[in-house]
Each structure stands twice: as C-alpha cells, then as structure tokens.
Amino acid sequence: MDPRMKQLYQELIIDHNKSPRNFREMDDSDYESKGHNPLCGDKLQLYVKIDSENIITDVSFTGDGCAISKASASMMTTAVKGKTIAEARTLFHQFHDMSTGKLDIAEHPHQLGKLAIFAGVRDLPARVKCATLAWHTLDAALKGKEIITTE
C-alpha cells in the first residue's frame, strides 16, 4: 500500500468518517454557519453554542462530504468543545498553517494534539480544502458571534 495512503487514511480518520462525533442538528445554537466546497459539492452546517464567558459549550455539524472533510469536522468538534473562542481560533490558525505547509509541526510547538493526523494533506493540494472546510466554517461562525457580542 502506498505510504501516502497510509498517512492520509489512518485508522482514526476512517473511524471519525464512519462514526462522526457530534453529528447532529442543534435547535438552540447561538450561531450557525454554512460551509460549502463547490469543487466537490461538500456541504456542511455547523452549530455552535457559546456561554457568557466566551466558552464553546457545544458544537455539532451535519452535512455530506468526503472522508477527509467529515473526519476533520468530527475531530474539530471534539477538539474545540470546552475551549474559549480565542483558544479555538489559535487551533484554527495552527490547523490551517499545518494543512497548507506553513507550519512544520515536527519543528514548531503547537497545540494540535490528535489533529496533527491531518498533516498529510499538505502534500495533496487538491485536498487541503477538504480538511480545512469545517475550520473555515467555524471561523466564520465565531466571527459572527463576535460581531454579535461586540455590539
């Protein structure tokens, strides 16, 4: 089997693809955001609940996409739940830089933890967007939330 294949489609990714966590609608979310990757038709709906201390108390998603985008969304929800908006944003930037090859996780400290499993996409330009779609959607949601809170 191709080594890139083993790196990209690791057990954990396949597991999150098959049984995505926090894969549900949310009726009482504070913010919703839609992510769309027109190239592959991936669609993602993200729900976020944030308390008065700017902590993400709940986050979930629905939608359809490839294994990479689905697993990435699933793992993102588990990673940011309980984090502050600022912490989630730091993760977004680190994840984004790792996927686009700007952050070499072997060289530089980071807080990505298990999310580092997606590092393989940096060698597959066509798939970077799949891995980052959920994160961009979260970023948009949090920006919307910020606008609401700063008003």
Partner: protein, 414 residues
Amino acid sequence: MFASEQKVHFDVDRIRKDFPILSRRIGDNPLVYLDNAASSQMPTVVMDAFGEYHRNYHSNVHRGVHTLSQEATDAFEKVRQKVQKFIGAKEEREIIYTSGATDSINLIAQSYGKTFLKEGDEILISNMEHHANIVPWDILSKQLNLNILVIPITDEGELDLNAYKNLLSERTKIVAVNHVSNALGTINPVKEITQLAHEAGAVTVIDGAQSVPHMNVNVSDIDCDFYVFSAHKMLGPTGTGILFGKAEHLEEMPPYRGGGDMILSVSFETGITYNDLPYKFEAGTPGIAQVIMLGKAIEYLDAVGRDNILAYENELLSYATQRVAEIEGLKIIGTASNKASVLSFILEGIHPHDIGTILDFHGVAVRSGHHCAQPVMERFNVPATTRASFAFYNTKSEIDTLINALHEVKEVLG
C-alpha cells in the same frame, strides 16, 4: 505514426509510443490516464508542430507580404480545409476558429441569438448539458427575456425524445444539445433531434466537444445549423476550438468581437466595413501555432481512423463495464444503450474525492466531481461521480489497474 492499413488488429502498443506522457510515472506507478473527457493527451507530431512553427515561420497571419507571414498564413488557413473535411462541412468559410467549445457557444448566443430571438421565444436545452451549453443561453435569456426549457432525461441517461417532441412549438427558436454527454457518455440522436427542430422552425446547436474525438461526424448529414468543439479533447492544444455554422446563418450574423482581421476597412469618415466569412468572426491575432497543431491532430486521428477508434474504445468500455460489475456497491451513472467511452460511477458510502485521491496513489487519473454538469448530478441525486473516460491509447491492462485500485478503495474506506 499509425498506418491506416492496419484495420484488423488495433496496434495500441505502437500508438502509445507516439504519446510521450504515457510513459511517465506517478510516484512509483506508471501513469494510467483515464481523464480523456477532460483533456486528451498529445502525440509527438502535434507537439512538434509548435516548435516547428516557432523555429521556422513564426509571424502574424493575413498581414505581411514577407515570406514568414505567407508561410504562417498558408499553414493556418490549410487547417480550415482539414477541419471542413473532418466534420463534413460543405464550405471552408463555414469553419470559424475560436478559443474552444465554450467560446463557440457564446458566439452563437450573442451573435445569432441576440439578433434573431425576441422576448417570449424559447430555447430548448437538455438535462445533460455541460455548463458551457447552459450558461451562455441563460445570459442571453436574461438579456432578451427568453424562456429556457429543459428536455428531461431517463433513468438510463437517455434524452426523453417524446418529452422533447412535446416541448417543441412555434416558440422554439434554438435547440442546443450535446452530441455526447461528458458526464454520462450518452450518444444523442442529433440527426433526429435536428430534423424535429427544423420541422418546428428552430435551429440546432450541437455541442460536439465529446463526440469529435471518438467517432466520425458529418455535420451535413446531421444537417445541424451549428456544431462546436475544442482542440484539447482531440489530441490538440488548449485554448483553440471550432465553430461550424451554416453559411446562410453566419452571413446574416453580426460580428461577435471587434478588432483587427475581422474588418475590411476602418475609417472615421466612411465607417467600418466588416470582412467576409470566416474572418468576420475572427478578431485579433489567433492562436496560430495552436490551429496548426489542431491540423496535425486531425491528420493523426484520420490516419488511425475514427471508425477504428470507435470500435476499439467500445471494446474498452464494455470490458470496463463488465469488470466494475464485480465491485460491490458500485453503481454506474449513465447506462444508455448508445454510449461513448465514458464510465461514470458512484461507490456506496464513499465520496468520489476519496476515490480520486486513492486512485491517484496508484497512478490512475480519473475525474471526480460534478464534471461541469451539475444538473446531471441533481437529476441522479448525487453530489458528484467518479468518471473514467477512455481514449484509443488506453489498454485493458490499464482498466485492470483501475479495478485493483478500486478494490483497495473498498478495503480502506468500504
């Protein structure tokens, strides 16, 4: 080059030697190029025409009395006759050089459509069109307040001819359909479609982007009013294509773009006189080398023979169709009885992009996505498909590689 006397045995090994790219590797694996419907590969003779033009007679066309310009003009214009014969047009001036199928359709919409259609008129397109044969009509319909009606397709991916007949009326002015669907492979009965359109008083625009590389095409026999295609899907370069239009229409149509070459004279005192056909539609310096390369591609296809190509590709398609049947959960999208060498499919529970990536790890190039035919995806209720499209330089053993790779996809993600 392939010799046309070899009718009995299709010598694919020999043909493959003409295509240098076919011997490259993707990672550790030989390239298996099955994305021919997007762009075909190029034989050496076609590439060499680019170098030869630039080494020996690069200069502008129709402009100089010097030797280089005459040679360039000569080579450039000779291709027009080749194209005319290649598609069975009656006259050379019915062949217009464009930048591709998309450009050709936009030209028809903005020149013919804008001149001869009026509010309330109807354009019929089919549910299996490429966006290139949808969007130009949508733009036109918004400009003129026209209505676009869509001819439905069956579950097999065939045009619903009865529905088509019912949609035709005295309001129908243009019927625009593809000859072969890039997403489904369906070969449409364009002759019959044209005959019915003519009975209703409409003209036909046939998108031949996917047909011309794979089968003999005769626009006089089809009797269509317009026929368009791109060079890069028929062994030629990108950025170049053809518009065929019946002279009676082209004569009456205003220019699409203004500039040099398309005029006879420009004077601030006496005004502008447009050039004759075909130059009226060819403003500015064209892709001269690219047109000359298109000419070489036609020579190459003619030498192999498109009837041989069709027969061989049919063999590949039926072999591939039969082999994919062994993969559980695989469903072919597009099962028309008359099909070109396109195999579009979905794998239950596995996204086409994952399939595309894993196949690429095996060196297998396929297209995964909506193929610029989103209404087809809507019709079959899928977000995207994986499409393997074959050319005459592909082999059964390459199809075996595809099948093995698909088995691995199932193993990893199934």
